[in-house]
Structures are given as C-alpha cells and as structure tokens.
C-alpha cells in the first residue's frame, strides 16, 4: 500500500442545493416552522423526535417542535454534524440549507450575514401578534440585500381559530408594505407550525386556502439562474504574474458578477477606461473553458500589456459601460456601534475597490416600521437612511436598479464593516467633465509596443510628476530648474515644463487677456486640465516631469491626479506660509535652492522613482 492515494479524476453526482433564510420578529415561530419542516420531511437523525417527545413527557411539559432545534444544538455541542444556525434537509427536487436568522434586534448583523447568502426567504409573522417592528425591518433589509423571492408565512393560525379575516388583514397590510420597499411577495401562506397546518401538507382547518404548502413553495422557488444576459462585470481582484516560477502569463483575476466573456472579446476597465482584447481564459487542472460566466472565479490574459490594478471593473466593449463618479446617492442600513456622522472619514468598498469617503448629506432617515421619514443629520444603529457620500477618488459602479451586484457597497468604520448600502443615483461633481475626457482619451489611446515597464528598465526610473507650488512671490521656477539640473546630472530623464510653455500655445484660445489672470481666472480649471494632459503625454514617455503653478488647492491637485495615468506625484510647497488647503509631501523654505533640490531628489529616491544611486 503506497503512502499517497492518487485518485483518478472522475465525475461526481451532485444534487442542486438552495440556501433559504428564515426571518421575522422574535417569538413569531421561526424555530417551530423549521422543526416541523425537519420532522415532516424525515430529515432528523434517527430517534430524535421520539427522544424529544419522551423528554417532554418526563418533564411534564407539552412537546413543541421548536425543542427539536434546541435538541439539535445540544447535540451539536457533542460534535454531531448538524448546525443550529444552518439546518439541512432534502426534498425529491433538491437539498436545502435553511439559515435561521435571529429575530432579536441585537443580532441584526447576524441576520444580515445569514440573509445575504440566501436565494430566497421565508418571513414569519405571528397571526395573533400581527406585524411587528422586525417584521418590517427584516422585510426592508431583504429588499436591500437583493432577495427577490419571499414567501410570507402567517403563523400560529391555530391561535386565531384559523380565521381567514385575520390572515387576509395581515396579508393586505404587509403586501402594501413590501410593495413600498420594492418587493413583491412570492406568496402568503397561512400556517400553524405547532400543528403542522400547510407546512408539508394542506390544512383541513383552513379549507378557504387553496395555495401551496410551505414545502411545495420551497420547491417552486427558482434557483438563482445565472445573470448571463446582463452586461459583463468583473471587479478585478488582482493581476497575477509568477515569473519567478517561470510562468510568464499575466493574468487578470476576479469573480464574474454578471454577463459572460470569452477569448477575443474587447474589455474596457473602469474607472481608467483602458482597453484590450482577451487572449485566453485561464484555469488550473481543467481544459481551457470557452467562456467565464457569473459566479466563476476566473482569470484571463490580454493581448496588450496595459497597466490596470485591483479595484477596476472589467466590462465588455459595446455593452453598457459602468458609471464613474465621486459623489453617490445611496440607501444605507447602519449596523455600527457608533452613529454614521458627517466630517468623519470612512472607507467604502464596492466590488474590490476601497476608497475614503465622507458623509456629506443625510437626505432622510426612515423608520423601518412605518416608513415615515425623519430629518436628522446622522444615522443611528439599526436605522435606514438616504445619504450622499463624497468619495476621495473616482469609483466605477452601476446604479442598483441597473445592476444590483455592482450597485452596492459596505462602509468600514474603525476597521469594522458597519453598514451596507445600495447606490440609487450619482451626482455630477466638478470633475465629471474632466473625467469624461480622460475616459474617452484612454479608450482611444494609441498603444505602442514599448510599454511602461520596458521604458522604466531602460531609463532606470519610473515616470513621476513633481509639482512645485507656493504663493505668487516664491521663486518656484528657480527651484524647478535646479531640480531638473540635479536629476539630469544624476543620469535621469527629466524635463522642466514651465507654465509659459503651455499657456501661450496649447492654451492660446483661453488665455486671459486682462492683466488679472491669477486665481480669479475663469479658465483656471481648464488651464490646469490642459497642463495635466500635456504632462500625461510626457509621463507616458517615461519622463520625470517638474511643473510649477501658483497656489494650487487640494481640489486642483486632485484634478491633475485624475488626468494623468498613475505615476508617482510629489507635491512641494515652497515658502513659509501655506495659503491653500493643499496636502503637500514636502514643505521647503525659500533660499538654498541646491539644498532644496537635493531634498526633492532624496524623496524621489526613497519612493523608488529613481533607480540610479545618488551621486
């Protein structure tokens, strides 16, 4: 007998598996319904039912199906493979995993965690107690989580003498509520978990009900079909290259969310707008697949060596493009320990991108029970609100009604996921125009055979942009020339781009004619955009570029950052007093230009821009 068993690859028989979540207000009978389902479908371990009945008899308490779950929990503690939070049972059609989501509000985050993985939901309402706070809150959250198939079980019908009116009343009110939050209930079923009415068999107690039992309904739920007909979306998880192992493939990896992709398709990445053609769909230990479809963790190689990074969304050219913005209108549910407030920096994660964000407006806070609105300027724990966020950088996304998967996000507060949300609209921000140009430019960019990497190796440097700013009086140009000379002497490919080189030629059509052409220049934004465009060409050529401008603001630096394809940007403030809100990397006193230039050179060396040793 050898040490290792080498198994031949073989096909395996697999049944379909569906995840169902059961939600509802505390004590409305979720456990009883599950207990019944397990018992009546014969899914319990042998003798379990008798054992629980016997226990009840001995302790002279009435048997309840909910006790089955408790018993399973005890057993789980002894290592039997049944999970209390997840119950397994099967029908002729398929296997089910039922996730029992806690009804207590303290466990809302557990409910969200459980529900987000489900393909359909059972929502339980107590016929006697009626619609309660968490009946509506859970309903609302199901809608935000994107669960479309919801069967509402009006439970404990035995306690209201199987009265049809009670049922119809709840049905009417709750259906109206669901409609308001954008869900159409798949069906309503009057049940008694305690007596088993309409759980797995039709109830004789409610002849007025002619619909499905819970079990029939489960089998009628659609297994989430693959959204192959939607536009292709794949958030990039990483670009992998394992050359040290002798593998020269450069693979763009990620999980397909919607649509399909195959070799030969033209892909466009957002927010950068870069594009190329898919060369191969990659895999391991399997033949190359013809295509990648939603749900597949996959990867592909490209025809061109374009520079893209984690966080971009891959789309297919010719299909609907992603949206790009820095300002999004959202519906948010907040689970955080601390309130969601303005003037605090959060992180927003959409797909695989993660970006700093601030809350700039709370449009309204909704009461999940009656959907009434409240005007507040913060969002408290377990509240749902419409909010506008300002993002630090461009982000690619879709509106939730266009594509639920790329139209949702989570918010990180103090290292924790503290809330989730869906994007309902975007706001045009001041960069919209600039960004549209950039996306179009990148789409149309003529690629050369010589890529960025090759140039870097030849020039022993990475492209970088050194921006020297300061008040009008400071001698920025003098410093810029000194930096240029020092780097040139060190063997770098460097260029000082004076603003005059741009203003009188490239900007001739918008140059201010009056003498006052400083900050009040109405075309200042356009001047800076064009400077950015010229810089972008030189950076693409592999240069280290030194530019100067008077009193640049944080916003203007952001705009330059939007315009140039990511090189290293180094912002230098020259002068003692900083007169704008700019965030600089280096602040220098005026005077000794040689010393100042060598500080900048050292900075570039430390940031890995210059490979040459400093002279």
């Amino acid at each position: 007998m050898s040490l290792i068993k080498q198994t031949e690859k073989a096909d395996v028989k697999q049944r379909e598996v569906m995840n169902i979540v059961i939600v509802g207000h505390v004590d409305h009978g979720k456990s009883t319904v599950i207990g019944r389902l397990l018992a009546d479908t014969d899914s319990l371990p042998k003798g379990k039912l008798d054992q629980v009945r016997e226990n009840c008899r001995r302790n002279s308490k009435p048997f309840e199906y909910a006790f089955l779950l408790d018993a399973l929990k005890d057993e789980q503690a002894q290592g039997i493979t049944i999970d209390a939070a997840r119950c397994f049972f099967k029908t002729k059609k398929r296997n089910y995993i039922i996730l029992d989501a806690p009804g207590h509000i303290e466990f809302l985050k557990n409910m969200v965690t459980g529900a987000a993985n489900a393909e359909a939901a059972l929502l339980v309402i107590d016929a006697q107690e009626g619609i309660m706070e968490n009946s509506t809150r859970h309903g609302y959250l199901l809608s935000m989580l994107g669960i479309k198939q919801v069967a509402v079980l009006v439970n404990k019908m035995d306690l209201v003498e199987y009265n049809q009116e009670v049922y119809e009343d709840i049905k009417k009110n709750y259906a109206t509520f669901l409609e308001k939050v954008g869900i159409q209930a798949t069906c309503f079923i009057p049940v008694s978990g305690f007596h088993g009415d309409n759980i797995t068999r039709h109830s004789e107690n409610m002849p007025w009900y002619g619909g499905d039992t819970v079990l029939d309904r489960l089998d009628l739920f659609h297994s989430a079909g693959l959204p192959v007909d939607m536009p292709f979306r794949m958030p990039v998880q990483g670009v992998y290259k394992f050359t040290q192992d002798g593998d020269y493939r450069r693979i763009v990896a990620g999980t397909v969310e919607t649509g399909r992709i195959k070799a030969g398709d033209t892909v466009v990445f957002y927010p950068s707008g870069k594009k190329s053609k898919v060369k191969t769909i990659e895999t391991f230990n399997a033949p190359e697949p013809d295509e990648a479809v939603p749900g597949m963790a996959t990867g592909f190689t490209l025809e061109d060596q374009i520079y893209i990074t984690r966080g971009e969304i891959a789309t297919v050219s010719g299909e609907a493009p992603c949206r790009i913005s820095r300002k999004i209108v959202t519906n948010v549910f907040w689970l955080g320990k601390h309130d969601l407030v303005k003037d605090k920096e959060y992180l927003i994660k959409i797909g695989t991108s993660k970006i700093s964000a601030t809350l700039i407006e709370v449009v309204k806070v909704m009461n999940a029970s009656d959907l009434s609105n409240e005007a507040k300027d913060y969002v408290g724990r377990h509240e749902v609100a419409e909010c506008i966020f300002d993002l630090k950088k461009d982000i690619a996304f879709d509106l939730n009604n266009e594509n639920p998967v790329t139209g949702r996000f989570v918010i990180i507060d103090d290292y924790e996921i503290a809330g989730g949300g869906i994007i309902v609209d975007q706001v045009k921000d001041k960069y919209s125009r600039v960004r549209d140009y950039v996306v179009m430019r990148n789409l149309k960019w003529e690629k050369s055979i010589i890529g960025r990497d090759l140039r870097s190796v030849r020039y022993k440097q990475k492209p970088a942009l050194v921006i020297i700013t300061g008040d009008e009086a400071s001698d920025k140009k003098e410093l810029a020339r000194e930096v240029e000379k020092l780097l040139f002497d060190n063997g770098e490919y460097v260029y000082f781009l004076g603003i005059g080189n741009v203003v009188y030629g490239v900007d001739a059509d918008i140059r201010a004619t009056q003498s006052d052409k400083s900050l009040k220049d109405p075309n200042r934004q356009e001047h800076i955009r064009r400077l950015g465009e010229v810089a972008n060409v030189l950076l693409d050529a592999g240069m280290i570029l030194v530019v100067t401008a008077v009193e640049l603001t944080a916003d203007e630096i952001d705009m330059i950052d939007t315009t140039v394809v990511p090189p290293h940007i180094c912002v230098v403030w020259l002068g003692d007093k900083v007169t704008t809100d700019v965030k600089y990397d280096i602040k220098l006193a005026e005077g000794d230009y040689k010393k100042n230039a060598s500080i900048i050179r050292k900075h570039l060396s430390e940031r890995g821009v210059i490979f040459n040793p400093l002279l």
């Binding site: 690859k9 992998y240 394992f242 391991f284 749900g295 597949m296 924790e416």
Partner: protein, 297 residues
C-alpha cells in the same frame, strides 16, 4: 454555453474568491496545512486561485506525534508543488517530555501545548520556524520572524459546534482571543480585511463545505490524499487525522474515494461525529469552543 454552475463549482469559486481577497489584503499571509483532507483541498484551491502557484507559505504545526506517513506526504507534495513550506513546534515541551503520551498531562493540556501554543508562537514568529530549502529539500531555521497577520485555516462549519459560528474572515485580538458573541457582519462578498495593529485575522475559505463535499471535490479533481483515510484491508479507516496517541480509526470497508462518498451518503455515519476518533474533543466537553477561543484551529 454554460447556464448553471454545480454545487461544487459554486463552493470552489467562493473559496477561490476568499483566498484571493486574503492574498490582496494581507502582506504577511500564510496558510495552515495540517496534511489532512480538508486543508489539502484548501491547498488545491489556492493552486486554482493562482493558476498553479501558491504565493504564500504553508505552515504546519508539527506535534511530533503525527502519524509518520503524514510528514512524508507533506514533504513530497511540498517538493512537487514547489511550496514555500514552513513548520514549527513546541520544542521545549517535547524536550522536557511535558506531553500526554509521556504521561505528564491530560490530552487537552497536551493539545494546548503542542498545538495551540506552538501555533501561536510559530505564527507570531516568537519561536523558531523551519523553512524547507527549495534547492536541497532540507529544513533550515527561517530568518524571517515577522508575525503573520492573515492566516488561512481549513475549518468547516459542519465539523463541530464552535466552528459553525465562524465567519469567513474572523478577527483575533492581541491575545489570540475570539469574541464569539460579537462578530463583524459579512455580506455580498465583502469581508473584514481591515484590522487594527497587533491583531490578526483568520480566514476560512472552507466554511461552507461539508465532509461529503470535500470527498466529492477530491474525486472530481483527482487530488492525492494520505492513504490512512482508506480501508487497507483490515476493515478500518481514519475519518479524521490527528496525533496517533489520540486518534483512532472507524470501522469501514471504504477503500476508495467513491466508496467513501457512498458510505457518507448512505447515512450510516450520520449519527457518528466526524471527529469521533479524536479523543481531545471529548475532554473539552464535546465542543472545541474552549480550545478554539484560546487559539486552536
């Protein structure tokens, strides 16, 4: 045209996605490999995720009481798959014979010393790590003592009680403590990948897999496994592998993967815990919650 994914396809893709998320978010990342069937499937999923490569080290906590075949199998696969293989152990307890087989302590205490303590200190870099030299195949003391901030672990929710309460990305604080009652929410493929300095995150790509899923995947992919899992003619096989003084085989005729799948699906084992052959579980009141709160896998 592909219009449906099978259950195994879905499990595989989700695990690959999680492993890739871990790789992108943790600079000091490692994967625990216990040589058993689950973590070997996980290793395979890592190769799926990175198209045949494993771009982080595999860490094995060697109690020195592993069934010898397991160590041989480990090193053989490490060479074959070009793995960055590391092991660590509680050298002091072994040297001073402070173990259960030496009669010094209970099974639980022994687990704490040889596994939990060894694991904690190997991950933290406070004890020696041994790294396989890829040229010679020989283990050498690793000069890297930086702590791992992300640790990929092959636990499954259906194995036993405390594991069913896990998240895919589960934070541990400075003392390795796990706050079961207050875990972060996880939804829409978004996990906890941000963490405060000094803390680390356990990543569980196999959480949704069941025992039979594991065997079906081994079958589908043709993954090599240790022979101890199979009946070799004496009507016994190991269902879960651990240290030999504390692990016993079950009665079984299954001598191939297909037969194991058949055995599991027949339901004859459904009332017997998968880890029933693991004696330390019984000492821990049945669940591993106490051991696991303390840092056990």
């Amino acid at each position: 045209m592909i219009n449906q994914l099978t259950h195994l396809d879905r499990l595989e893709s989700k695990s690959v996605h999680i492993i890739r998320e871990a790789y992108s978010n943790f600079k000091n990342l490692c994967m625990l490999w216990s040589i058993g069937k689950d973590s070997t499937v996980m290793l395979w999923l890592a190769r799926k995720a990175f198209f045949g490569h494993v771009p982080f080290p595999l860490v094995h906590v060697d109690t020195a009481y592993k069934i010898p075949e397991m160590i041989e199998y480990r090193d053989r696969l490490a060479r074959e798959y070009k793995l960055d293989m590391i092991y660590g152990q509680n050298e002091e307890a072994l040297r001073d014979k402070k173990t259960f087989p030496d009669g010094d302590c209970s099974r639980i205490e022994c687990c704490k010393r040889l596994k939990t303590e060894a694991l904690k200190n190997t991950l933290a870099g406070t004890w020696k790590r041994y790294r396989m030299n890829k040229e010679t195949g020989i283990y050498e003391v690793d000069s890297n003592t930086e702590p791992y901030t992300g640790v990929i672990v092959g636990v499954r929710a259906d194995e036993e009680g405390s594991r069913s309460k896990e998240r895919y990305f589960s934070p541990r604080d400075r003392n390795n403590d796990w706050d079961v009652g207050d875990q972060p929410p996880e939804f829409w493929n978004q996990y906890k990948t941000d963490f405060a300095p000094g803390t680390h995150v356990r990543i569980h790509p196999l959480l949704d897999w069941t025992e039979v899923d594991i065997w079906k995947y081994i079958q589908r992919e043709g993954i090599p496994t240790v022979s101890l899992y199979y009946n070799q003619g004496d009507g016994k096989r190991y269902r879960s592998l651990g240290c030999y003084p504390c692990t016993s085989p079950i009665q079984s005729q299954a001598s191939s993967v297909a037969e194991i799948i058949e055995e599991l699906e027949s339901g004859i084992l459904s009332n017997i815990a998968e880890r029933s052959g693991r004696e330390q579980d019984k000492e821990d009141g049945g669940g591993l919650e106490d051991l696991r709160k303390d840092g056990y896998m």
